[in-house]
Symmetry: C2
Subunit: 467 residues, 2 copies
Amino acid sequence: MQALLPALRERFGERVSIAGAVLDHHAGGGEGVPISSRPDAVVFPLDNDEVAFVARCCNDAGIPIVPYGTGTGLEAHVAAVHGGISLDLSRMDRILTVSGDSLDCRVQAGVTRLQLNAAVRDQGLFFPIDPGANASLGGMASTRASGTAAVRYGTMRDAVLGLTVVTADGRIVRTGTRARKTAAGLDLTRLFVGGEGVLGIVTEVQLRLWGLPETVQAAVCQFASVEAAMQAVIGTLQMGIPVARIELLDAVQMGACIAYSKLEGMQPQPTLFVEFHGTPASVREQIEMVEQLAGDAGGSGFAWAERPEDRSRLWKARHDVTYANLALRPGCRMIGTDACVPIAELAECIAQTLDDVARSGLVAPLVGHVGDGNFHLGILFDPANGEERERAEALAERVSLRAIDFGGTCTGEHGIGLHRRHQLVAEHGEGVELMRAIKQALDPKGIMNPGKMFLPVESSNQKEAAP
Amino acid sequence: MQALLPALRERFGERVSIAGAVLDHHAGGGEGVPISSRPDAVVFPLDNDEVAFVARCCNDAGIPIVPYGTGTGLEAHVAAVHGGISLDLSRMDRILTVSGDSLDCRVQAGVTRLQLNAAVRDQGLFFPIDPGANASLGGMASTRASGTAAVRYGTMRDAVLGLTVVTADGRIVRTGTRARKTAAGLDLTRLFVGGEGVLGIVTEVQLRLWGLPETVQAAVCQFASVEAAMQAVIGTLQMGIPVARIELLDAVQMGACIAYSKLEGMQPQPTLFVEFHGTPASVREQIEMVEQLAGDAGGSGFAWAERPEDRSRLWKARHDVTYANLALRPGCRMIGTDACVPIAELAECIAQTLDDVARSGLVAPLVGHVGDGNFHLGILFDPANGEERERAEALAERVSLRAIDFGGTCTGEHGIGLHRRHQLVAEHGEGVELMRAIKQALDPKGIMNPGKMFLPVESSNQKEAAP
């Protein structure tokens, strides 16, 4: 590392830093019981060639590279657990091309989703993938992000047409094309989307865009039970009603949101937040159908967020659940779960999960992108209480393993990172060996985001040998 | 090979064949200038364990395996160019599970799309991906198939939730989950979708299903020019109108279809075939909007295929274009192209292509999934005329390379196979080296469908060294 710094200084000048505050900022803890690790240096590249230069230097010297976007990921993807270079892509923030006719754009990895939306709105376009945080699009691609609008618009898996990636040995590779579909060779784009930086560095992203919907309406509907709310959700999906968002908050979560976000006229009961996009006529029809389904399930009438500012307040309350949860118990920390299961299993999976929560004696509000079968517990614990922390971890583990048992996944959208590496083995078994073989083929020296996604080989073997 | 046969006979009995007619049937030519190569033997496995047994035997002996579905692919994917075992999966034809509530199913690789649709129709479900041929779902996954309904429902990339694959060394690996989305590790599912059998054998497919639309309507609209038709298409996409199919046929193609399929009341002019799915009200609204856009572009009024049998006749005419084309010139053969470009480039790309066709002096009808930016030329040539064949090949090559120049791909849906291997290099450059590294990692002995997707290393180097 000491040998590398002069070369980096010569090329990057002020854009390489070993200042303590900068290293701290790039130590990336993530949610839950964080592992926070400082890099040895942070480099701020401006273009593909600079990224490739860093990769070549680090590959030659066997020094880790940890790609860094906005640091808003939840699974400690950016923690430099083996030191090395934190490669901060935030200054690669140029929107390179926008095509309204082809409904696509190309951005540097550091462009954030709000920045992109602000830039394309005047052309009547928007980028709908919305994980809540104002994440960078490179980071969203690298973690296969999704969020509240995935039920209608898909995830980053669907929205990314192509990438520029820099390989561990410093090659600059363009994957995919601008065409909507391709059958040309192995799907490198989808391999790097969700690759969590372990295969290479995403430096540019070609994205689909969508036309701004003519009409947007949002509503809230409350139910006597989670089962009743889920009955309305399953009916909506089976009828193919193209809802733009459909979010479930359980009674505890609603209580937290009512208190924190001052939601008026709502009860701490299981609740759906729903949003409709389309022409006025199609939105009207969607609303009629969903309102009917909700009524059949015993839901309250729809409370409407008619004005844009009401809608913003509603979704802000949804996105602020973490703060609302932490406010329930000052000084606490939170472990988030990310189970995602087949839709038909979701009601039963949630019911068993809420039983677990009750038995655990912990406070753990539940919120979910239920149109995708995805839900989160925010398990609160006192960081000073070791026994409670263990109980919280055990609850989180049970939720993840149950999702796998139900034919689903331990992580719908947050990723593996550090804390779910053993769950990846539980979920994919032999498949993890194929993933490792691919990692080894593309990063033979193991410099790319080491320690993430895969357990160390020894500990992985122990895990598999365990009864 | 002679050493392997007894072991295969012992395990498979009558289900291993070296009969000449069976070998001929599995020699898989594909379209254009076919390379047809017989395997040394054909094996008909019934389950994953049998496939794994063949893989282990072949891997130990270094003998090629060529997975075979229905042989309906267009790019000679199933030709046994290096001999070995053709692994015919057609007897793995069981539908394993169907969930109407979760809208998914799991099938063995040999189940065909029409078989699946017949089986799920009673539950109000359908599987919309429609490449025309009654292909096997394993084959469709392996070639990343799409077809006429991709503009609404996506391609096999989107429809496949997970797979069972057998690796070259005989491991049985489940990829993906039944959840709609996952962020758990590298996306092995998307790596094997479109993998053309070079990484392993797809033996089971977990697929999304859709509810049968309440209303289906199809219409035909004729235009004075391809540009006018494309104006209507681009307007439709920009307004986000969820058409289920939108197909362009140029004047020559319409002439061929009118003659072959006895289409009445139509002129040999550029034509759109459009289909609408949805509720009665939403279909009505979609039709009004598209009819308006078509009228603005100078299109004729819509000619409706009201009854299911009229609709079937219309789409049969569309799917029979190959026969209609071959009937234009008895005794001819046909090279198909598969360019796919960004939507905004499609009109110009087609215009330049039609200029090329005119200059070539060849007959080459054009038909396209224009909602995806994908179009095909069917270039007719006299197989006895070497100069004409060369002209046809040169035209096809120009079309593919132009698509790449326009930011698109040489193949939207047919795949690389044998004939496009050099185009893969033109399109992806250094990316092909990453694909090769992955192939090498998962199939170190190179037994999986050798000779497909990748040029031999020497010839690939020559290609890259050429000016």
